[in-house]
Every structure is written in C-alpha cells, then in structure tokens.
C-alpha cells in the first residue's frame, strides 16, 4: 500500500468535513434554531445517521457517480475534492447554506477545462434549474402545508405541552431519516473519487464482513460527523433563525416540505409506481435539499408577514449558490496548474480517443458517417480534441449525440481476465446468467467499452437494455449497476 494515498485521501476528508458543517443545516437547521432540539442532540443523531447511511446504503449510490468517471489521476481527484471542500468551507464560515454536490460539479468542470476534456454543459442548465425549482417548489409546499396544519391544530385542540412533544418527536424522526439519506447520498461525493484507489482491505470476523469500501465510507462518515460537531451550528442558525423567525411547528413543516419535494420531484421510485398503475407521472425536476430548505423557510415567512423575512440574507444566500460552482471551477483550475507545474504531480493521465467505423455503424443513421470519415481512425489525447474535430466535420450533430460519440471513442483495451471472476461472484450481486455470459467472453479483449457491453448483450438477453421508458427504468438501472461492477473490475480507474 502506498502511504501517499492517505495524503490524497485527506482532501476527501476535508470535503467530508465541509459537507457535515454545511449540509447538516438542511436536516436539523430549523429544529436547532427553533430550540426544539439541542445542538448536541442533533449532532449525535446526525453522526449516527450519516455513518449508518454511508456504510449501509452508500455503496449503491457511489457507483452512479458517472460524472466523476473521467478523472483518472489521483492528483486530479485530490484537487477536485480540495477545491470543492475549500469553497464549501468558506461558505460555511460565512454561515451560508450551499450545495456540496454543486461545488463538486463545479470543481470537475475546472478539471475538465484544465485537462481539455469535454464538459457536458447541460449540467449548468440542471444546476440553474435547481436554484429556482427547489426553493420555489418547497416554498409553495411549506406555505400551504403550514396553513393546513395550523387549521388542523385549531380544530384538534391539542394541549400546548402535547403539541410540543409531538413536534419534537416529528423533528427528531425526520432529522434521523434526513441524516441517513444525507450519508447515503453524499458519501459518493466525498469518497467516490477515491474508490478506485481504496487503500483498505476487506476484514472478516466470523459471520461479519467489513468490506474495504465500507471502511473507506466509514472514514468519510466520520469526517462528516466531525464537521457537524465542530462547525454546523452557524449555518443552522442562518437557515433556522436569520432568514425569518420560525415556530417549532414551522420548523417541522419546513423539514416535511423539503422531504416531500425531494420525494415527489426527484424520486424515480414514485415515478415508477405512478407509471405502473397507469397514472401520469410527475416530471422529475432537479432539486437540492440545501436550496429547498431555504425556500421552505421563506414560504412560512410569507404567511406570517413578508416584512419578517430578511431579504438581504436571502439575497446573500442566492448569490452564494451562484458563486459556489463558479468559484470551485476557477479555484480547481488555478490549483491544478500549481499542483502540476510547481509540485510536479500528475493531475491527468493522457488517454487515447479514437473514433472508429464500428462505432459509426453502431449508431446507424443517427450519425452521418461520410462527413466524419476524415476524423475516423485519428488519435486524440483529450476528449476535447476529438469533440472539436467532430464538431468541425459535422456542425449540425445534436450536442448530446456528439458527447456520446466522444465518450464511446475512449480506447480502454479491456481484457476479460478470468482471474477476476471469483471476486465478482463473491459480490453476490450479479445474476448467474449474466455471470455466465461474462465467462463466455473470457480472455477476449475489447478496444472500447461499448463493444464489451454489446458483446454481453449478444451473449444473453439478460444483459440487454430495454427500451427507454419509465417502466423499464429500474430494470435498465439494475443492468447498468452490474455493468459498472464489471467495468470497475476490469478498468483501472485511477493511477
């Protein structure tokens, strides 16, 4: 084991610290600020929830971080995590709630710019949409939910002490669940880039097994917990007290509205459930809990008196949302320059991109193969180089198709090594029939990743993706998950 890996890991831990210090406010900010839950109690619940979420459910989420896939050098991963962490830490010190995910995406864009890799600029659209959709939707929900709850309370005539107890239990339960999902969904952001260079080995103690990945995530979870304990109070007070005064019931309504918006507008499970009983689905909207919770507080503030809302604070928060990804990208770009040129670290391993005729055939009529004939077979060292060559030859090509062509032109030379079968089988995730298909390709080498995927699909229908519909989504996702496991086994991600 190379000890320098721990040096690199430190930036992931820094990112974990920042996440804990900032995003804890999404879960417990209103509860702590309304004095219904003591900060210490909240911090303990958060710690347990986050670590459990990271270890138990984190592994599933981490593999879906395809956005991070392109970073292929530890130095680059270190700087991406570090820049994102630095920006979020700065926002935390100024007490502003921001989205850690957006900081990470910003930093990755900085890496892409520095290394000449292609960036899918539609992520900008997605991020801009979150800035508006999350607070507006949550504000709307909390406004009407609060009115409804207050009406109900008037009628139900609950004793003030009982209402207090019920609200407290509600806040703690919602907070614990929120902490669990915070850990499960964000551990990928914190530790995802280091999965490829995990220094931990699996541990066995009788029937218990503690995998290396779980140990890595435990470390990340501990970093998040330290962030919560050491610095989370400031952002919590901004969210729960500085924007507008909040009653305990209001605090609870904000948390419920945030969860409801995340569930209704970002849950593929709900989309599938609605589609499977023939109902129209609610369109999936990109939402972020950091932004949703602010909208929720403003929504309740509007009911009471719009003058109670400190719009200057809201404005500062809004500005911080825009600054976060932009500054993360700039910081990452500048720091990568220093890391590479002053400290002589590798931040990017050159790759080979080559557009092949097979790929054009694979795409069929969607791409004009003739126009691209000049590009086919040429070697490019960066995805950006290939992308601009394609754009030059075929300016009318849809943006997404162009990106897909570039992605699929990465030369990876994957050899299906039979020695890895045992490890894959041990995961106990991939179905036997799919494993069988993989075995049938033993020893073969594939230049491109898509060729392996194609070969697997040809070997058994079990590996074949179904048509893209809402109802087929979970099935396709499952195949994708298995494919990710296979690719992880055969492609060295990080050098």
């Amino acid at each position: 084991m190379d000890p320098t890996i721990f040096l690199y890991l430190s930036s992931g831990l820094f990112l974990g610290w920042s996440l804990g210090a900032n995003d804890a406010a999404n879960v417990f900010g209103t509860a702590v600020a309304s004095r219904m839950v003591k900060f210490r109690t909240a911090a303990i619940i958060l710690t347990i929830g986050v670590i459990l979420g990271a270890i138990v459910s984190g592994a599933g989420a981490a593999h879906t971080l395809s956005k991070l896939g392109a970073i292929n050098a530890l130095g680059g991963a270190f700087m991406v995590a570090f820049s994102a962490a630095a920006v979020v830490a700065w926002m935390t010190i100024t007490g502003l709630p921001v989205s850690t995910t957006q900081a990470v995406v910003g930093a990755i864009i900085g890496w892409n710019m520095f290394t000449g890799s292609v960036t899918d600029y539609s992520v900008f659209k997605t991020i801009c949409a979150t800035w508006i959709a999350s607070p507006v939707l949550t504000g709307f929900f909390s406004y009407f939910l609060y009115k409804g709850v207050m009406k109900w309370l008037e009628k139900s005539k609950i004793h003030i002490i009982r209402l207090d107890a019920l609200t407290r239990i509600g806040l703690v339960v919602a907070g614990a669940l929120g902490a669990y999902s915070l850990g499960a969904n964000n551990i990928g952001n914190v530790m995802g880039v280091f999965i490829g260079a995990n220094p931990f080995r699996d541990l066995h103690a009788g029937v218990f097994e503690f995998s290396g990945l779980q140990q890595l995530f435990l470390l990340g979870g501990v970093a998040i917990a330290v962030g919560v304990f050491s610095y989370a109070q400031r952002v919590m007070m901004t969210v729960g007290a500085s924007i507008a005064p909040l009653t305990p019931v209001g605090a609870f309504v904000v948390i419920i509205s945030t969860s409801l918006v995340l569930f209704l507008f970002a849950s593929e499970g709900l989309e599938y459930a609605l589609a499977s009983i023939g109902l129209p689905t609610i369109p999936l909207v990109p939402v972020s809990s950091s932004q949703a919770v602010v909208g929720g507080v403003v929504g309740i503030g509007l009911i009471k008196n719009a003058k109670n809302i400190k719009w200057s604070v809201v404005g500062r928060i809004g500005l911080a949302w825009i600054q976060t990804p932009v500054i993360a990208a700039l910081v990452c770009y500048v720091f990568l320059f220093f890391l590479q040129n002053v400290f002589g670290q590798t931040v990017y391993n050159p790759s080979e991109y080559r557009l092949s005729n097979q790929l054009l055939v694979h795409h069929g009529d969607a791409v004009d193969a003739k126009a691209l004939s000049a590009v086919v077979g040429k070697n490019f060292t960066t995805s950006g180089g290939l992308k601009s060559a394609i754009d030059k030859a075929l300016p009318d090509l849809p943006y997404k198709t162009g990106l897909k062509l570039v992605d699929e032109s990465l030369v990876e030379a994957i050899t299906v090594d039979p020695a890895k079968f045992a490890a894959l089988e041990k995961l106990n995730v991939i179905e036997p029939e799919r494993m069988e298909a993989l075995r049938s390709l033993s020893g073969k080498t594939f230049t491109y990743r898509w060729e392996l995927v194609q070969a697997l699909a040809d070997a058994t229908p079990e590996w074949k993706l179904k048509e893209k519909t809402v109802l087929n989504k979970p099935y396709n996702k499952e195949i994708q998950k298995d494919l990710d496991l296979v690719m992880d086994a055969y492609v060295a991600k990080m050098k």
Binding site: S34, R35, E154, H159, D164, I169
Partner: protein, 219 residues
C-alpha cells in the same frame, strides 16, 4: 428506544396533569374565597370561617407547589421554547391571584371589619363578581393552553365581571361614607372593600397579558 418514547409521553401527560391541577387550584381558590366571605358575614361563632380559611391556605400552598413543579419541568425538559416565558408569567400571575385572595381572608380574620347588616348583600355581590372574574381568567388560561381560538370568549367576561366588581365596590364605599359610622371605622371598611376589588383588578391585568400572549401565539 421504545422505553424512552413511552417515557416522553409519560412525562408529557404528567406535565399536562400538573398544569390542569394548578388551574383547578386557582379556580377552587376563587370559589373558596367567595364562600369564605359568606362565612365571615354569617358567622356568629367562628367554626365556618376557620374551616374556610384553612381551605384557602391549603389551596394557596398547593398552588405554590404546583407552580414550582411546572416551572421546573418547563425548564429542565426545555419545553415550549417559543412560549415558555409567556407561560411562566401566566403561572406566576395566576398564583399571585391565589395569594392575594388568601391574604385578604387572613386580614378579615385578624382585623374583623364590622360591616353593618345592610351592606352584607352588596359585599356578597362584590365577592361573587370577584370570584367570577377569577373563574373566567382560569377558563381563558385553560383555553390558551388547549384551544387558543376560544381565549377571547373568556377574556371579555373577565372585563365584564371586573367592571361589575368596580360598580359594587363603588356602591359599597358610598354607603359606608354616607353612614353615621365613625371615620376610623369607615376607613377600615374602605380598606377591605378595596382589597376585595383589587382581586378583580388583578384578574383583569392577567387577562390583558393573556390577550397579548394569544396574539403572539396566533401570529
């Protein structure tokens, strides 16, 4: 986990019960005060009055204890953070009503003001109005804890009984000073009429504060 949850609800029930007992005690204090005045005016011997005094004294002690207990629970369990201050003031004020009623009755026992027979009916009426004002304050306080919308329904009654008490006190004092009693006795009787009327005034003060707490809670 289950145990602590049960414990939480158990504590909630206990605190609720303490609140209710406290309000019961204040309400009983009002009734006891009215009957103590009646007993004083009727008493040829002393038996009834002593029993009533004893009762008021016990209620006052019980009220003090319950108030302390509820205050302790509110603080140690950090309950109702947003209205804790208001609820504490309310408890203090209500307890103060109980104290004033008890003190007034003790003064009656010590100083034995000699109300002429023709003033007895008016004095009873004054005590009745005061007792009703206290009762309405207790009802408004109960509503504040349980049914905030109906606080107003009780508050206006407090104001009404206080006005009535003022009128009765006024009438009594005019009658006292219009009589041929010696001045020293007139002043002595006036002091007692004022002391009884003051209980209604204090009820009104509690009601005024309660109106403000209610606005805060409804906001």
């Amino acid at each position: 986990m289950d145990k602590s949850k049960l414990r939480l609800f158990h504590t909630t029930r206990e605190v609720e019960a303490h609140f209710d007992s406290f309000l019961d005690t204040v309400s009983q204090g009002g009734i006891a005060f009215r009957s103590a005045i009646g007993a004083y005016l009727e008493s040829t011997g002393n038996g009834d009055l002593v029993a009533k005094l004893q009762q008021l004294n016990e209620l006052e002690h019980k009220g003090d204890e319950l108030r302390r207990q509820v205050e302790h629970e509110l603080y140690t369990l950090a309950l109702i953070p947003d209205f804790r201050g208001d609820v504490l003031s309310l408890l203090e004020d209500l307890d103060c009503l109980l104290n004033v009623m008890e003190e007034t009755m003790v003064s009656f026992d010590i100083e034995r003001p000699a109300f002429p027979q023709e003033l007895h009916a008016d004095l009873r009426q004054l005590a009745e109005n005061v007792s009703m004002a206290v009762e309405s304050t207790v009802l408004a306080s109960r509503a504040f804890l349980r049914d905030i919308q109906s606080v107003r329904d009780h508050l206006h009654k407090v104001m009404f009984y206080e006005k009535d008490a003022d009128r009765a006190a006024d009438k009594l004092k005019r009658a006292v000073f219009g009589s041929s009693l010696p001045l020293a006795e007139k002043l002595h009787l006036r002091r007692f009429i004022d002391a009884i009327d003051k209980i209604a005034d204090e009820s009104e003060d509690v009601a005024d504060w309660l109106a403000i707490y209610t606005i805060k809670r409804l906001d």
